[in-house]
């Protein structure tokens, strides 16, 4: 049963990953990318890492990919232009791809021969009765606390950088002050004037 689910999910994720590159329309590419994320989450569930699976869906599918889609949809893409530079960039792309492939193969070989996988160990061997959410939390907030905080700081710096790049103060903009609007009463907002017949209102 698990093997069937694994092969379905693996097949879907590999096929969708292939389609990410080959799809003509960039929006379709992003949609295939979402499929890849989703099947990867399914694979995490099969490994017994349901917490990571849910985080993958919440963070990558629910937030990052939405913003991706957001940007890609707003691009005005000329599809013919896409094909033009293909031959020119092929060598450079090929080199980058080859380097990445070599790295992946090396890492996979090392893990398979010397890592946990060689000893046939469980991916997350936790004590019985401890769910993997608790197990991750206990490791993350004790042994790796400083690294965890540092990664948070990296994200903070990235966020501040983005804000600083786009922030501009425009003078003379009238902003809505909701508290001020709500605090208005008839006394501050209007005056009652007794008008004699034949006269206008003058301040």
């Amino acid at each position: 049963m698990q093997a069937v689910a694994f092969y379905i999910l693996a097949l879907v994720s590999v096929a969708a990953a292939f389609l990410v590159i080959t799809a003509k329309n960039p929006v379709h590419s992003v949609l295939y990318l979402i499929t890849v994320f989703f099947s990867a989450a399914g694979l995490f569930v099969l490994l017994g890492a349901e917490f990571l699976a849910m985080l993958l869906v919440v963070v990558y599918v629910g937030a990052v990919a939405v913003l991706f889609l957001f940007v890609v949809m707003m691009l005005d893409v000329d599809f013919a232009q896409f094909r033009e530079g293909f031959a020119r960039y092929l060598p450079l792309g090929g080199v980058v791809g080859a380097v990445l492939l070599t790295e992946i193969i090396l890492v996979a070989m090392t893990v398979a021969h010397t890592g946990a996988a060689a000893k046939n160990a469980l991916p997350m061997a936790s004590a019985p009765g401890v769910s993997n959410t608790e197990a991750i939390g206990q490791v993350l907030y004790t042994d790796y606390f400083y690294l965890f905080q540092a990664s948070g700081l990296v994200l903070l710096v990235a966020m501040i950088g983005a804000i600083v790049l786009t922030l501009r103060h425009r003078p003379g903009v009238r902003r809505q002050n909701i508290a001020k609007q709500v605090a208005r009463t008839p006394k501050t907002g209007m005056t009652i004037v007794q008008i004699k017949p034949g006269e206008g209102v003058s301040e």
Partner: protein
């Protein structure tokens, strides 16, 4: 549904689970049919109208008449539309809005999948709901749907942040992400519910109100229905949809609303527990005790739906910048403060 002893035979297990899923889907579909009618009736009553009253007694069959009408109409696909994505969008909306019900505990043990990351699962599924809207809006290849989709994506992503923080306060209080466990801990009268439990009521009651407002924004309900604001965008992302595809989008929207109504009662208002200590049901036969629990669950969910409908009838629509200000400048800091306070109470407080 967990009351049934599962067989070890995978085939029987699959069939039983499939049966439960079908049962939940049918019940939710019928509930949504009447909830739509209730929504229209409440809206009408606030405006001193009668609302739908022609089809069936008191117009009870109105939703079914609408269903037939939509199904029998012609499905128009715009010529410039991306046909596959256009048709996929409503299907995705409906699938995710129903998938979320898998972890909803209706009564003690009555849950299809008792996930130990149930809250996260709900958060994940509800964050996927945005894809139906954004894909539909883009695939229509038209200006109004596209603007609606962009608004909706920004709105749902923004309010998910505050919903996430509010969920964290509940998780901190109960120490579990399993929805059944969260409900179990609110046993014994309304003063044990998360929204009203005494020392934390100071934080948790405002949190429950914020959750209510955030889920209105998350489900695109008025006063935050900007993705489909008819005075600005005609009907937003739904403009090009007709027939069954439109029906599916509406179905997904209302299913999500009912789901959120159930979720707020589970997280803050005791789920299936009665508002008073009900130890006397322990002597009842199990099925009666379960139905008693289910009754309270349904009453609470329907109360929250009534509130949703009243908000639609009473509150005027927000402007888009006001919506964003509320989400990022009010709810996000407030819920963050709530998380800090609840965490501090858990560590240093009486129960620490």
């Amino acid at each position: 549904m967990g009351g049934i002893a599962y067989s070890n035979n995978p085939l029987i297990w699959s069939l039983l689970t499939l049966g439960q899923i079908l049962l939940i889907v049918v019940i939710v579909l019928i509930t949504v049919a009447f909830v739509i009618l209730a929504d229209r009736k409440i809206w009408a009553a606030v405006q001193w109208r009668k609302g739908p009253n022609v089809v069936g007694p008191f117009g009870l069959l109105q939703s079914f008449a609408d269903l037939l009408k939509f199904v029998l109409k012609e499905l128009v696909i715009p010529s410039g539309a991306d046909k596959f994505v256009f048709l996929l969008a409503p299907v995705i909306s409906v699938v995710f809005s129903f998938a979320a019900w898998a972890v909803m505990p209706f009564a003690p043990g009555w849950v299809i999948s008792n996930l130990n990351v149930g809250v996260l699962y709900l958060l994940a599924i509800s964050s996927l709901g945005v894809y139906g809207i954004i894909m539909g809006g883009w695939a229509s290849n038209s200006k109004y749907p596209f603007l609606g989709a962009l608004r909706s994506a920004a709105q749902m992503v923004s309010y998910e942040v505050s919903i996430g923080f509010i969920l964290i306060t509940v998780i901190l209080l109960s120490g579990s992400m399993n929805l059944s466990t969260i409900v179990e801990q609110q046993n014994g009268g309304f003063w044990h519910w998360h929204a009203f439990a005494l020392p934390t009521i100071v934080v948790m009651f405002p949190m429950s109100v914020m959750f209510f407002i955030s889920f209105l924004a998350e489900t695109n309900r008025p006063p935050f229905d900007l993705p489909e604001a008819e005075s600005e965008l005609v009907a937003g992302y739904q403009v090009e949809y007709s027939s069954t595809a439109y029906l599916l989008l509406m179905l997904a929207e209302y299913t999500n609303i009912v789901l959120m109504c159930c979720l707020i009662s589970v997280l803050f208002f005791g789920g299936w527990h009665a508002p008073f200590p009900d130890d006397f049901i322990k002597t009842w036969p199990p099925i009666a005790a379960h139905l008693w629990a289910l009754m309270w669950f349904v009453i609470k969910a329907m109360f929250w739906f009534f509130m949703v409908a009243m908000v639609k009838a009473i509150v005027p629509r927000y402007r888009y910048d006001q919506l964003m200000r509320l989400g990022w400048k009010v709810f996000l800091p407030a819920s963050l403060v709530g998380v800090v306070l609840v965490a501090a109470w858990r560590v240093f407080g009486a129960q620490g």
